[in-house]
Symmetry: C2
Subunit: 118 residues, 2 copies
Protein backbone atom coordinates (compact mmCIF):
# COMPACT_ATOMS: atom_id res chain seq x y z
CA UNK A 1 0.00 0.00 0.00
CA UNK A 2 2.80 2.42 0.95
CA UNK A 3 4.76 1.19 -2.09
CA UNK A 4 1.67 1.74 -4.20
CA UNK A 5 1.20 5.32 -2.95
CA UNK A 6 4.92 6.02 -3.46
CA UNK A 7 4.73 4.91 -7.10
CA UNK A 8 1.55 6.92 -7.59
CA UNK A 9 3.22 10.05 -6.15
CA UNK A 10 6.36 9.45 -8.30
CA UNK A 11 4.21 9.36 -11.44
CA UNK A 12 1.87 12.19 -10.55
CA UNK A 13 4.47 14.68 -9.29
CA UNK A 14 6.54 13.88 -12.38
CA UNK A 15 3.45 14.52 -14.55
CA UNK A 16 2.90 17.85 -12.74
CA UNK A 17 6.48 18.99 -13.39
CA UNK A 18 5.63 20.25 -16.89
CA UNK A 19 3.87 23.60 -17.52
CA UNK A 20 1.88 22.28 -20.53
CA UNK A 21 0.58 19.30 -18.55
CA UNK A 22 -0.40 21.60 -15.66
CA UNK A 23 -2.16 23.78 -18.27
CA UNK A 24 -4.06 20.74 -19.58
CA UNK A 25 -5.21 19.87 -16.04
CA UNK A 26 -6.33 23.48 -15.53
CA UNK A 27 -8.26 23.32 -18.81
CA UNK A 28 -9.89 19.98 -17.89
CA UNK A 29 -10.82 21.24 -14.44
CA UNK A 30 -13.07 23.74 -16.28
CA UNK A 31 -14.44 21.44 -19.02
CA UNK A 32 -13.74 18.08 -20.68
CA UNK A 33 -11.92 18.33 -24.01
CA UNK A 34 -10.77 16.16 -26.92
CA UNK A 35 -7.06 15.67 -27.63
CA UNK A 36 -7.58 17.75 -30.82
CA UNK A 37 -9.09 20.64 -28.80
CA UNK A 38 -6.16 20.50 -26.37
CA UNK A 39 -3.56 20.37 -29.18
CA UNK A 40 -5.11 23.49 -30.75
CA UNK A 41 -5.40 25.33 -27.44
CA UNK A 42 -1.75 24.69 -26.59
CA UNK A 43 -0.56 25.21 -30.20
CA UNK A 44 0.97 21.77 -30.30
CA UNK A 45 0.97 18.84 -32.74
CA UNK A 46 -1.55 16.07 -32.12
CA UNK A 47 1.36 13.65 -31.50
CA UNK A 48 2.90 15.99 -28.91
CA UNK A 49 -0.40 16.41 -27.06
CA UNK A 50 -1.08 12.65 -27.17
CA UNK A 51 2.20 12.11 -25.29
CA UNK A 52 1.24 14.61 -22.58
CA UNK A 53 -2.24 13.05 -22.27
CA UNK A 54 -0.66 9.60 -21.92
CA UNK A 55 1.61 10.81 -19.08
CA UNK A 56 -1.36 12.39 -17.27
CA UNK A 57 -3.51 9.28 -17.75
CA UNK A 58 -0.74 6.93 -16.54
CA UNK A 59 -0.39 9.11 -13.42
CA UNK A 60 -4.13 8.67 -12.73
CA UNK A 61 -4.77 12.41 -13.06
CA UNK A 62 -7.09 12.16 -16.07
CA UNK A 63 -9.25 9.58 -17.80
CA UNK A 64 -9.88 9.28 -21.53
CA UNK A 65 -12.72 7.64 -23.43
CA UNK A 66 -13.45 7.17 -27.12
CA UNK A 67 -16.64 8.96 -28.30
CA UNK A 68 -17.11 7.99 -31.96
CA UNK A 69 -13.81 8.87 -33.63
CA UNK A 70 -12.79 11.38 -30.97
CA UNK A 71 -10.89 10.68 -27.72
CA UNK A 72 -12.33 12.82 -24.91
CA UNK A 73 -10.24 13.69 -21.85
CA UNK A 74 -11.63 14.41 -18.38
CA UNK A 75 -10.00 15.13 -15.03
CA UNK A 76 -10.13 12.05 -12.80
CA UNK A 77 -12.51 12.68 -9.89
CA UNK A 78 -9.85 11.63 -7.38
CA UNK A 79 -7.17 13.70 -9.15
CA UNK A 80 -4.77 15.56 -6.90
CA UNK A 81 -6.35 14.20 -3.70
CA UNK A 82 -3.33 12.05 -2.70
CA UNK A 83 -0.92 14.82 -3.73
CA UNK A 84 -2.80 17.46 -1.69
CA UNK A 85 -2.89 15.07 1.29
CA UNK A 86 0.85 14.41 1.12
CA UNK A 87 1.74 18.11 0.91
CA UNK A 88 -0.67 19.09 3.71
CA UNK A 89 0.65 16.38 6.06
CA UNK A 90 4.26 17.61 5.54
CA UNK A 91 3.23 21.25 6.06
CA UNK A 92 1.38 20.38 9.27
CA UNK A 93 4.44 18.56 10.68
CA UNK A 94 6.60 21.54 9.82
CA UNK A 95 4.19 24.08 11.31
CA UNK A 96 3.94 22.03 14.50
CA UNK A 97 7.74 22.10 14.75
CA UNK A 98 7.80 25.89 14.41
CA UNK A 99 5.02 26.25 16.97
CA UNK A 100 7.07 24.10 19.38
CA UNK A 101 10.14 26.28 18.74
CA UNK A 102 8.07 29.43 19.37
CA UNK A 103 6.92 27.96 22.69
CA UNK A 104 10.54 27.28 23.74
CA UNK A 105 11.59 30.83 22.81
CA UNK A 106 8.64 32.28 24.76
CA UNK A 107 9.57 30.17 27.80
CA UNK A 108 13.20 31.31 27.59
CA UNK A 109 12.09 34.96 27.37
CA UNK A 110 9.82 34.53 30.40
CA UNK A 111 12.65 32.94 32.42
CA UNK A 112 14.95 35.80 31.42
CA UNK A 113 12.30 38.29 32.62
CA UNK A 114 12.08 36.56 36.02
CA UNK A 115 9.40 33.93 35.59
CA UNK A 116 5.94 34.00 33.95
CA UNK A 117 3.70 36.99 34.65
CA UNK A 118 0.50 36.58 36.73
CA UNK B 1 5.94 36.47 -12.48
CA UNK B 2 3.78 33.75 -14.04
CA UNK B 3 6.90 32.47 -15.88
CA UNK B 4 8.78 32.50 -12.58
CA UNK B 5 6.07 30.49 -10.79
CA UNK B 6 5.91 28.05 -13.72
CA UNK B 7 9.66 27.40 -13.51
CA UNK B 8 9.43 27.07 -9.74
CA UNK B 9 6.62 24.50 -10.06
CA UNK B 10 8.54 22.60 -12.79
CA UNK B 11 11.53 22.27 -10.46
CA UNK B 12 9.64 21.53 -7.28
CA UNK B 13 7.18 18.97 -8.67
CA UNK B 14 10.13 17.30 -10.40
CA UNK B 15 12.01 17.25 -7.06
CA UNK B 16 8.93 15.72 -5.39
CA UNK B 17 8.70 12.91 -7.97
CA UNK B 18 11.31 10.80 -6.14
CA UNK B 19 10.48 8.74 -3.04
CA UNK B 20 13.90 9.34 -1.40
CA UNK B 21 13.62 13.10 -1.84
CA UNK B 22 10.09 13.03 -0.40
CA UNK B 23 11.53 11.01 2.50
CA UNK B 24 14.22 13.65 3.06
CA UNK B 25 11.57 16.40 3.17
CA UNK B 26 9.57 14.33 5.67
CA UNK B 27 12.71 13.89 7.79
CA UNK B 28 13.54 17.62 7.65
CA UNK B 29 9.97 18.58 8.52
CA UNK B 30 10.66 16.84 11.87
CA UNK B 31 14.23 18.05 12.49
CA UNK B 32 17.17 19.62 10.64
CA UNK B 33 19.88 17.13 9.62
CA UNK B 34 23.34 17.02 8.07
CA UNK B 35 23.91 15.40 4.68
CA UNK B 36 25.84 12.63 6.50
CA UNK B 37 22.85 11.96 8.81
CA UNK B 38 20.53 11.80 5.80
CA UNK B 39 22.87 9.49 3.84
CA UNK B 40 22.96 7.09 6.82
CA UNK B 41 19.21 7.25 7.38
CA UNK B 42 18.46 6.44 3.75
CA UNK B 43 21.33 3.92 3.44
CA UNK B 44 22.88 5.85 0.60
CA UNK B 45 26.36 7.06 -0.33
CA UNK B 46 27.27 10.64 0.60
CA UNK B 47 27.59 11.46 -3.12
CA UNK B 48 24.11 10.08 -3.84
CA UNK B 49 22.55 12.05 -1.00
CA UNK B 50 24.41 15.23 -2.04
CA UNK B 51 22.72 14.99 -5.45
CA UNK B 52 19.25 14.68 -3.90
CA UNK B 53 19.97 17.60 -1.54
CA UNK B 54 21.10 19.70 -4.51
CA UNK B 55 17.85 18.99 -6.40
CA UNK B 56 15.76 19.91 -3.34
CA UNK B 57 17.77 23.10 -2.73
CA UNK B 58 17.55 24.17 -6.38
CA UNK B 59 13.75 23.70 -6.20
CA UNK B 60 13.64 26.04 -3.18
CA UNK B 61 12.29 23.29 -0.92
CA UNK B 62 15.24 23.20 1.47
CA UNK B 63 18.13 25.44 2.51
CA UNK B 64 21.63 24.30 3.48
CA UNK B 65 24.28 26.05 5.57
CA UNK B 66 27.82 25.14 6.53
CA UNK B 67 28.31 24.68 10.30
CA UNK B 68 32.03 24.04 10.84
CA UNK B 69 32.86 21.11 8.54
CA UNK B 70 29.26 19.86 8.35
CA UNK B 71 26.55 20.96 5.89
CA UNK B 72 23.20 21.21 7.69
CA UNK B 73 19.92 20.91 5.77
CA UNK B 74 16.63 22.50 6.81
CA UNK B 75 13.21 22.69 5.21
CA UNK B 76 12.64 26.12 3.65
CA UNK B 77 9.95 27.97 5.61
CA UNK B 78 7.99 28.67 2.43
CA UNK B 79 8.42 25.08 1.22
CA UNK B 80 5.38 23.51 -0.44
CA UNK B 81 3.29 26.70 -0.11
CA UNK B 82 3.13 27.44 -3.88
CA UNK B 83 2.61 23.74 -4.64
CA UNK B 84 -0.26 23.46 -2.12
CA UNK B 85 -1.81 26.65 -3.52
CA UNK B 86 -1.64 25.37 -7.10
CA UNK B 87 -3.21 22.01 -6.23
CA UNK B 88 -5.95 23.58 -4.09
CA UNK B 89 -6.91 26.10 -6.80
CA UNK B 90 -7.31 23.27 -9.35
CA UNK B 91 -9.32 21.17 -6.92
CA UNK B 92 -11.65 24.08 -6.15
CA UNK B 93 -12.31 24.71 -9.85
CA UNK B 94 -13.07 21.03 -10.33
CA UNK B 95 -15.34 20.81 -7.29
CA UNK B 96 -17.22 23.92 -8.45
CA UNK B 97 -17.78 22.22 -11.79
CA UNK B 98 -19.21 19.12 -10.12
CA UNK B 99 -21.42 21.25 -7.86
CA UNK B 100 -22.76 23.04 -10.98
CA UNK B 101 -23.44 19.66 -12.65
CA UNK B 102 -25.24 18.46 -9.52
CA UNK B 103 -27.42 21.58 -9.60
CA UNK B 104 -28.35 20.92 -13.26
CA UNK B 105 -29.23 17.28 -12.49
CA UNK B 106 -31.36 18.37 -9.51
CA UNK B 107 -33.18 20.91 -11.69
CA UNK B 108 -33.84 18.28 -14.37
CA UNK B 109 -35.21 15.89 -11.74
CA UNK B 110 -37.48 18.58 -10.33
CA UNK B 111 -38.78 19.43 -13.83
CA UNK B 112 -39.44 15.72 -14.47
CA UNK B 113 -41.38 15.53 -11.20
CA UNK B 114 -43.58 18.47 -12.26
CA UNK B 115 -41.74 21.51 -10.94
CA UNK B 116 -40.07 22.25 -7.61
CA UNK B 117 -41.89 21.27 -4.45
CA UNK B 118 -43.34 23.97 -2.14
Amino acid sequence: MVQCTALHLDLSFSALSDATRRGVLEQLSRADASITDLAEKFQMTLTGMKKHVHVLERAGLITTRKVGRVRKCALDQRALATEAEWIEARRKLFEARFAALDAVILEMQQEKNGGPAG
